[in-house]
């Protein structure tokens, strides 16, 4: 038996992608209840030739469900200590780089810097579970952040259901946890050591988080790692599974893209902007009410273009170094390189010029 659940296997649908004709693409664009068949058609090279039509449909659906708004959030790196062996990541334990973690005082300073930027939703990040930055460390900062931010989400390491429950009680509203790749063989090759190495435990983490009462889970595949078509199909199936199983849970889908690093990790299946746009449109068309997220990994021009046509949630003014907001520490490498470095005000001006309203907060933790 494979460690990958059958419902996640992309294989039965890959053939549909290859077989898709224009007629199938047009049908998918107009489908009332799009499913995996429509999604597959929209991933095809035939659909790539219909990118403008996909964009039009994606825009219509995005505006229809989310209105003329873009939700904004900012990441806050708590620590770059890491015991993980992810071959593609700048925090991997074998990468030679200075390690830091925030003290309580530094964290307060970072948070007040973010508050001054009007940020209301904060994503707290760490590396893989490490003695220097463990579960308790993370929980303390979640508690501290929940005082200042109505929405506190966490992107850290996979946890037990009990830990997720504790995180929830500490004031965490949701987690982001990418499977990175849905191909078990590739997964094992990329994750060379550490507890993250276990594919099956990782894939079930969102289920554990929802069972523990967390409100939202963000999922994603690291684009560039595996075959983008197979990865996208599995990602869609993962989303569909979560929506069916945990009907009270909110999911979102992110599109983290590995770019070739000079002298660093070379993604085996690089995804260019057109391909990325096509994937995002396909997800929007087939999951019309699921938030789709784009980070500052992407260029300003690409983000401006995708805002409101597929994407409805973005990070802004991100620093991916520990302590990046307060002192703008420049000597370290971040987890990934930021392409869109605009500040909040500049970014919001761009959105307003496109008749899009920046939304910092759409939820208050009054009853928590």
């Amino acid at each position: 038996m494979s460690i990958r659940p059958d419902w996640l296997d992309p294989e039965p649908h890959v053939a549909r992608v290859e077989a898709a004709r224009r007629r199938d693409v047009h049908a998918a664009l107009a489908a009332e209840q799009p499913g995996i068949a429509e999604f597959a058609a929209l991933l095809s090279s035939t659909a790539a030739g219909e990118l403008e039509a996909m964009a039009q449909r994606a825009r219509q659906l995005t505006r229809g469900h989310f209105g003329n708004t873009i939700q904004l959030y900012a990441p806050l790196y708590l620590s770059n200590y890491c015991t993980g062996g992810c071959s593609y990541c700048g925090f991997s334990s074998d990468r030679k780089q200075p390690r830091h973690k925030l003290t309580e005082e530094q964290c307060q300073a970072e948070m007040s810097a973010l508050r001054q930027m009007h940020i209301e939703e904060i994503l707290l990040l760490t590396g893989e579970r490490a003695p220097e930055a463990d579960f308790e460390f993370l929980c303390n900062f979640v508690r501290a952040a929940a005082v200042h931010f109505p929405k506190v989400t966490v992107e850290a390491f996979g946890m037990t259901e009990e830990e997720y429950r504790t995180l929830n009680e500490a004031g965490c509203t949701g987690i982001t946890l990418y499977q990175e790749t849905y191909d078990p063989t590739l997964y094992e090759a990329c994750h060379r050591w550490g507890e993250k190495r276990d594919f099956a435990t990782r894939i079930a983490a969102p289920d554990r988080a929802f069972r523990a009462g967390l409100r939202t889970v963000g999922i994603g595949a690291l684009l560039g790692l595996g075959d983008p078509i197979a990865e996208s199909i599995s990602l869609y199936q993962h989303a569909a599974h979560l929506m069916k199983t945990h009907w009270q849970g909110g999911i979102s889908v992110s599109f983290p893209r590995l770019r070739p690093e000079a002298g660093g990790f070379q993604p085996p299946h690089p995804v260019d902007e057109k391909r990325l746009a096509q994937l995002i449109f396909a997800f929007r068309i087939c999951l019309p009410d699921v938030p789709l997220v784009l980070s500052t990994r992407e260029s300003a021009a690409f983000r401006d273009g995708m805002a409101g046509i597929g994407i409805n949630k973005m990070s802004v003014a991100s620093r991916t170094t520990v302590g990046g907001y307060e002192n703008g520490r420049a000597e370290d490498n971040g987890q990934f390189e930021i392409d869109d470095g605009r500040d909040v005000e500049t970014f919001c001006t761009m959105l307003r010029e496109q008749q899009l309203e920046p939304v910092f907060k759409n939820w208050d933790a009054v009853f928590r």
Partner: protein, 260 residues
């Protein structure tokens, strides 16, 4: 959707369920059941009255091959009464299928979501194959699934109204998220509405008034059977997309370069 309609551990090949109320006489009803090919027919519990022995449907229905009785709990105004009705009905029919139907308001007969939920929870825990008649509410549908119902049966429109599938939007959401069969119950008038329900992805439909009150109930039963089969076949075949009118706006993808 497989070709078999699976309800709990029971399997059926017909996707048309028939109600037995409102027929002019037993013979007409039996003829309609036969013509419709229905394998599940609903019955209600009533106080026995020797002077109205005509009303006893158990005898004639049990003569029919391949028909499973699905007693309903109509008349119950709360969960407790519905549970008792279900227990009595199981004792009589030997069938663990039960249609939970609780409508306390005698005028519009809308199902009570709270009592329905409570009764469904109790009956599912007791081993019944629970089929709740319910408002077309996507949240309630998931709650009923969570407590172990074998299907959800959202109303198309008010019982006996013949207003068709007026809850289409909501039923669409129920179908999208449901892990158990979705059966349209109540409100249908014309076979074309049953076809439409099946085309949009319902697993079955339950019809009573539209057949009982038809000019020729048996013929209408046959028409509904064909309509359900047609809608199901169309769903399996995959409907052509409805084409939108193109929006004349400036290109949205001009910002995408050919290569990075």
């Amino acid at each position: 959707m497989s070709d078999t309609l699976t309800l709990g551990d029971l399997a059926f090949s017909s996707r048309l369920l028939l109600g037995t109320g409102k027929f002019s006489d037993v013979e007409t009803m039996i003829a309609a059941v036969k013509a419709s090919g229905a394998e599940i027919v609903t019955v209600a519990l009533r106080r026995f009255n020797a002077n109205e022995a005509e009303d006893d449907l158990f005898g004639p229905l049990s003569q029919l091959d391949g028909v499973t009785l699905m007693p309903n709990t109509s008349g119950a105004r709360n969960a407790q009464e519905a549970v008792r009705a279900a227990m009595l009905a199981r004792e009589l029919s030997g069938s663990k299928l039960v249609k939970v139907e609780i409508h306390p308001n005698p005028h519009h007969l809308m199902p009570d979501p709270i009592e329905t939920y409570e009764a469904a929870k109790t009956l599912a825990a007791d081993g019944f194959v629970v089929m709740p008649y319910m408002p077309a509410d996507p949240v309630l549908a998931k709650r009923l699934e969570d407590v172990g119902c074998a299907s959800v049966m959202p109303l198309g429109s008010a019982i006996g109204s013949g207003h068709g599938l007026s809850t289409r939007e909501l039923v669409g959401l129920i179908i999208r998220d449901s892990g158990i069969p979705v059966i349209i119950d109540a409100g249908l008038r014309a076979p074309s509405e049953a076809t439409a329900a099946m085309e949009m992805g319902c697993d079955a439909v339950l019809v009573n008034s539209a057949i009982a009150n038809a000019g020729d109930p048996a013929a209408m039963g046959r028409a509904f059977a064909d309509a359900v089969a047609t809608g199901y076949a169309a769903r399996q075949a995959g409907l052509m997309a409805r084409l939108d009118h193109a929006e004349a706006t400036s290109p949205l993808t001009a910002f995408l370069s050919d290569a990075e």
